[in-house]
Amino acid sequence: MVSSFIYGLCAATSAVCAGMLLAAYRLERYRLLLWSGLCFVGLTVNNVILLLDKIVLPDVDLSALRLFVALIAMTVLLYGLIWDTES
């Protein structure tokens, strides 16, 4: 019960982060905000799959899938940090 609350809260807060970062990017056009926003979209998907994995489908192991999504999300942000920020 407590666990589904924590997992749900993780998914909700990460979605808020993604929304705020992408909204800030729309206003300011600062590219780092775009990469951060996309990263948090991925982390939100990661947390939603976590919720599915632990609560909805406890018998199915989705750990590889959700970690793969998290890795893609972090790679997107790292790409932006390395290629798209001035010095």
């Binding site: 800030a24 998290a70 972090m74 790292l78």
Partner: protein, 88 residues
């Protein structure tokens, strides 16, 4: 039980998160902007929580506690953006 693929992915995500932390620390040192410091702190927390999750065999009862760290990470990001917006 963590299989080999999950263990590799888990370590890779922790490493990516650590590298991201270093970038934001660098930006913070260049600009003295607290926004970057909060981002650095958030990704440092993510690095620790992912490494801790990857290294431990947690029970189903204990595991959600690790995700409180992840929750703190997202809260820090929300605080960082809110502060930045209020300052403007």
């Amino acid at each position: 039980m963590m299989n080999n693929l999950s263990a590799v992915l888990s370590g890779a995500v922790a490493m990516a998160s650590f590298a991201t932390t270093l970038f934001f620390v660098k930006f913070w040192r260049q600009t003295s902007d607290v926004f970057f410091l909060l981002f650095a702190l958030a990704f440092a927390i993510d690095t620790v929580s992912r490494a801790a999750l990857g290294l431990t065999e947690t029970s189903n009862e204990l595991e959600p506690v690790f995700y409180l760290l992840r929750l703190a990470m997202f809260a820090l990001i929300i605080i960082a953006i809110t502060l930045k917006n209020r300052l403007r």
